[in-house]
Symmetry: C2
Subunit: 222 residues, 2 copies
């Protein structure tokens, strides 16, 4: 989506390679949307593209690498969405609200992508370091949005707990405990609503999930 990797001038071959690689991913996402992440099959993707199975090995070392690449893209996509949203500040609306709506839009746009990031983990799998880095970038953006909010009220026991950790936080990003507490609430509460909504657990309950989301966001901005 955004410009990542070598952005220099490309030879026609490189351009073609990148193009086919993108198309493979596109079909992979479509397949995931239909049958879930675990059902992703290289041969099926190839067939859908009118190619033979082994051809895909020109573009990915194997199934695992493809999936890892999709996960990486998903994290990057969320980071890009957050970053783009962050740049529309100063319009009166608090930064947290902007991030919240960006998150919701991103989640609804592709539920399987959301679940690939925040859904059921595969017991064996461990994400590469660069993905972890993007994940903490996202956390930092949430933190920054929280830090600019007014912080009144007494210090809670959880904030005291955080204080006691000596702020050994990702990137050495020193955030006040109240901001971290708020960022965690932001993250967990909105994820709680979104994941249950996307999984269909609110079906048949009548209410509008968007309004529940808005209500939770209101509570966070209180």
């Amino acid at each position: 989506m955004a410009d990542h990797g070598d952005t220099g001038t490309q030879t026609p071959r490189e351009r073609y390679r990148a193009q086919v690689q993108e198309e493979i991913k596109k079909h992979a996402w479509e397949q995931m949307a239909v049958a879930g992440a675990s059902a992703l099959s290289l041969n099926a993707i190839a067939k859908q593209m009118g190619m033979s199975g082994p051809a895909l090995y020109r573009y990915f070392a194997g199934r695992d690498e493809l999936i890892t690449e999709l996960i990486r893209d998903a994290y990057r996509s969320l980071a890009d969405t957050f970053r783009a949203a962050s740049e529309t500040v100063g319009t009166g609306e608090p930064g947290l609200a902007v991030l919240a709506h960006a998150l919701r839009g991103w989640a609804l746009a592709d539920p399987q992508r959301y679940f690939l990031v925040y859904g059921t983990p595969v017991p064996g799998y461990h994400a590469p370091d660069d993905i972890t880095v993007i994940a903490s970038e996202n956390m930092v953006m949430m933190l920054d949005a929280c830090a600019e909010l007014p912080s009144d009220g007494p210090v809670t026991s959880f904030e005291a707990h955080i204080e006691g950790l000596g702020s050994r936080w990702a990137d050495g990003h020193a955030a006040p405990p109240v901001a971290l507490r708020r960022a965690l609430a932001f993250w967990t509460r909105l994820h709680g609503v979104l994941s249950l909504e996307l999984a269909g657990h609110f079906n048949g309950m009548g209410f509008d999930p968007a309004l529940l989301f808005a209500a939770e966001l209101d509570d966070l901005l209180r």
Copy 2:
């Protein structure tokens, strides 16, 4: 875990059948814990039990039925846990807190079981009606615990939205909007913390997830 199905006197054969059926499920859960739900294989279970693959067809019509049965058991297990917890009321602790700790204990006891209920949904799958019934039983227990809490404060716009629905709620269980709002917050917030914790998203962040859970619970009881 609890007594479900025919509890009448059993012939030795029936007893044996039930016993083997349970053992199959036990191995199924173990296998899921190792490789996730999608990797569940009848042949692998049979091999682990020292049986041949086709033998399992005496106990389950096929793979899909086994999985559905596991999902059903998971929902029932949570319902039983909630019910057992509800019966220990009156000790000063609010019912919601009791339910919360029961939920957390149940989730930590078997993360894969938690994710089978609340994790990434399989795009095609639709749960049978009796499972939906158990799910709404769980919701009702949360609702009841919320209904007994003092409800002060002004009516929020989300509560007005619920009011406007005319309470067309599962089982015709008429709950005041403020209780439903609170039950939804209870559910989504605790799920938010638990699912991110179990998925390992808090790893390396230093703080104790149990304390975050407790902090969120405190907010709900406020």
